[in-house]
């Protein structure tokens, strides 16, 4: 076989995407994806380093040089097989992973130019497979063991997929009416189309995973019942961090103040952006989204698309400290979102009808680094000013849901409500009960949650086999 001709272009092949002034008025996907030629060309930028640093940056340990080599050869299906061996949701990861801090952050090509577009290639391969390969999946031979997974978000789905591939009979219990968790209710359609999420979930069903929606574990069934009369030998808790935080400032109960969770759930899960949706959402003129993470960017970009004239991101630190993915910040700026950094709201103002008519903010400056290593924001004295808005969306982070913790005796949690686990395996204070993802870490990323699901699946397999004397 002839050696692949390397592409030494210092820059990534640009991602074709919708024009910012068109896309900020629709909910179609922003990035359009590489063509096959672009993908092959970009794959040829990979140096196939022997020590593959990219791989050490991947929470689910994808054989990155391996799949990229196959793309460079034009064998996209072989590339997909490598990807799917490690990731249950490649079409999702290619779109939402913070690659700049992970695989691409470690890429050698990134030293003297831009790293290889690993995320874009992953997305291309997963999309290519979905569009071109329709061979039905054969479920593996059952091994006779039953595992329950609580929560059909990225962590639970990953654990379910890995366990199903090992022959376990897996049932996933989901509280909402559709599976997908944050992939469905949180991340907007224009960043992660919902039929792509459902396609990945259909793949898990084809592997034999049962998904039971409308099941709030802790209410309709407890973990003790699942492990008792229902005969599940182990449970993986991946119930996420769904409880929204508010600031505790005056006026937060006014009409027009949303948690980002509520705003995004109305828009994404309940499809309030469609003209015939039965779920209402406020038609806003001027919106302030408080916070600087991915969720804040998503909420701001949704508000813009729903027709708001002006949308602010209000963040108490500076641009450099924004915790959101770089690409999301860039996309938001291109779409006309205004960043009011070093700004913090102190009061929400009411009109005569109990609706938001503005908010009082203070300017901030950065002081000494705090415990998180980030410079602590300090209020500038006498800097109060009023911002004219009619809607305020609080994207300040979320805490784990207490429902399971409160109904499972002997399940230990810390003072933030995060379930305590013993090391990366995810074993909790209860035997055969594992936990991972945001339920353990507090709000983090899709890919870290998936990594935790993978580790837990391995640990559950080991524990069940050891108990059954099959190891």
């Amino acid at each position: 076989m002839p050696a692949i001709q390397r592409n030494m272009d210092p820059k990534k092949c640009p991602m074709p995407s919708q024009d910012p002034n068109v896309r900020n008025k629709n909910f179609k996907e922003v990035a359009l994806g590489y063509t096959a030629d672009m993908a092959v060309n970009e794959a040829k930028r990979c140096l196939q380093c022997k020590n593959h640093p990219c791989r050490t940056g991947c929470p689910v340990d994808i054989d990155i040089p391996g799949f990229i080599a196959k793309v460079a050869e034009g064998d996209f299906e072989a590339a997909y097989q490598i990807l799917s061996a490690s990731s249950a949701l490649p079409a999702v990861c290619g779109r939402v992973c913070p690659q700049e801090n992970q695989c691409e952050g470690k890429c050698i090509r990134g030293i003297k130019g831009e790293p290889v577009g690993i995320g874009r290639l992953e997305r291309f391969v997963a999309d290519w497979h979905r569009e071109n390969v329709h061979t039905p999946v054969t479920p593996p031979a059952p091994n006779g063991h039953k595992v329950a997974v609580i929560g059909a978000g990225p962590s639970g789905l990953t654990a379910a997929g890995d366990l199903a591939k090992m022959g376990y009979k897996v049932t996933v219990f989901e509280a909402l009416h559709v599976a997908g968790g944050v992939l469905m209710y949180g991340i907007p359609e224009f960043r992660l189309p919902k039929d792509i999420v459902q396609n990945e979930i259909d793949g898990l069903r084809a592997l034999g995973v049962d998904i039971e929606t409308n099941m709030v574990i802790g209410k309709v069934l407890t973990i003790d019942e699942l492990m008792g009369e229902y005969g599940f030998e182990a449970v993986y808790i991946a119930s996420g961090a769904g409880l929204p935080r508010f600031m505790g400032i005056p006026g937060e109960s006014l009409k027009g103040v949303y948690s980002a969770n509520e705003y995004l759930t109305r828009v994404n899960l309940m499809k309030a952006y469609l003209p015939d949706s039965r779920t209402p959402i406020k038609k806003s003129r001027k919106v302030a989204v408080v916070g600087g993470g991915n969720v804040a960017m998503d909420a701001a970009r949704c508000a813009k698309r729903l027709g708001a004239e002006t949308v602010y991101i209000v963040y108490r630190r500076g641009m450099a400290e924004l915790p959101a993915r770089k690409e999301e910040v860039e996309h938001a700026e291109e779409e006309g979102i205004i960043f009011k950094t070093l700004t913090n709201p102190v009061e929400v103002l009411s009109d005569d009808n109990g609706c938001v008519r503005g908010m009082i903010c203070v300017e901030m400056e950065l002081g000494e680094p705090d415990a998180s290593g980030r410079r602590r924001p300090i209020v500038k004295q006498g800097s109060e000013f009023e911002l004219d808005v009619d809607t305020m969306i609080m994207a300040l982070g979320t805490s784990p849901n207490p429902l399971i913790r409160h109904t499972t005796p002997g399940l230990d949690a810390d003072k933030h409500g995060c379930i305590i686990t013993d090391g990366p395996d995810g074993l909790t204070s209860r035997p055969f009960v594992y936990a991972g993802g945001d339920a353990v870490t507090g709000a983090a990323t899709v890919i870290l949650a998936m990594g935790a699901g993978k580790e837990a699946a391995k640990a559950i397999d080991k524990a069940i086999k050891a108990k059954a004397g099959e190891a």
Binding site: P244, S253, Y258, S277, N401
Partner: protein, 280 residues
């Protein structure tokens, strides 16, 4: 899918359905609620559970045809299925240790007051029921209340049935006559609960109210159902729906309840048009 085992009309604007949901029927307690979606494009509607039959595996819901969602729900008939039905959500009403209780129900809120009255009766408490309706045609569940109340006082706004007036008058009279209630449990429109609390506060009779704010998921995720209780923000779906009536900020709750009034009016009109077309 959740089959409608039984459906009956309680009055021209209120419908009762028994839904096949065996797991929920086994667990649900008085005061808890469910969330349903009639069809796969419907909104999520929270409804407090009106009764359960753990043996038959059914959960009863009673709803008023107030908006597009409940009108759409009412188009489904016996034998058809609800797309989604999840619960039991929220905390159950606390009835332990209560010996002498007044249960106050207003309008369709009586549907939720009934299981509480029944549970208290079953636990051996003396139950005084005070139920109020706008007029005779809108009276529901009278026989059911009589069966579990030691005394039942029925009032209508216009006096077309029972005593004329609102629930607070007989409530105050009972208290003045030395009824000596351990607790008053009030379930109905916000304005009714606000005035019940204003009445009982004068006599310092502990009063529990069941709040029913706008919500989406019902599991603590959206925060849309937040209320101010005792100066603190709480979520009705996970911290309630029952709260100490003396502590609830009713004015704020009433304001928040009007958030989508325009949308709802429009949606109701659309749904009516849709139903009219189907009739034609």
């Amino acid at each position: 899918m959740f089959k409608i085992a039984k459906k009956r009309s309680l009055n021209p604007t209120v419908t009762e359905m028994s839904i096949e949901a065996p797991l929920i029927a086994k667990k649900a307690k008085a005061g808890q609620f469910i969330i349903l979606r009639a069809k796969d494009d419907s909104e999520r509607i929270p409804l407090t559970i009106a009764g359960t039959d753990p043996v038959a595996g059914t959960v009863d819901i009673i709803f008023q045809l107030v908006g597009a969602g409940t009108m759409q729900l009412n188009t489904l008939n016996e034998g058809e299925c609800l797309h989604d039905f999840v619960g039991p959500l929220g905390k159950a009403t606390e009835i332990d240790g209560l010996k002498n209780v007044c249960v106050v129900g207003g309008g369709v809120g009586c549907a939720i007051a009934l299981p509480v009255a029944r549970a208290l009766h079953a636990a051996g408490a003396k139950v005084t029921g005070i139920v109020g309706f706008r007029n005779k045609d809108l009276v529901i569940l009278e026989d059911e209340f009589r069966a579990c109340c030691d005394e039942l006082i029925l009032v209508t706004d216009d006096g077309s049935y029972g005593q004329k007036g609102v629930v607070t008058a007989p409530l105050e009279q009972c208290i003045q006559n030395g009824a000596n209630f351990d607790e008053v449990i009030a379930i109905g429109p916000l304005i009714m609960m606000k005035f019940v609390v204003a009445t009982t506060k004068k006599y310092n009779v502990k009063t529990v109210v069941s709040m029913n704010p706008i919500m989406v998921d019902g599991t603590g995720m959206c925060g849309g159902c937040r209320l101010t209780v005792g100066g603190k923000t709480v979520f009705a779906c996970v911290d309630g729906p029952d709260f100490d009536g003396f502590e609830v900020d009713f004015d704020e709750a009433m304001q928040r309840g009007t958030m989508y009034r325009d949308f709802e009016a429009h949606a109701r009109e659309e749904q009516c048009n849709l139903l009219n077309q189907e009739v034609k």
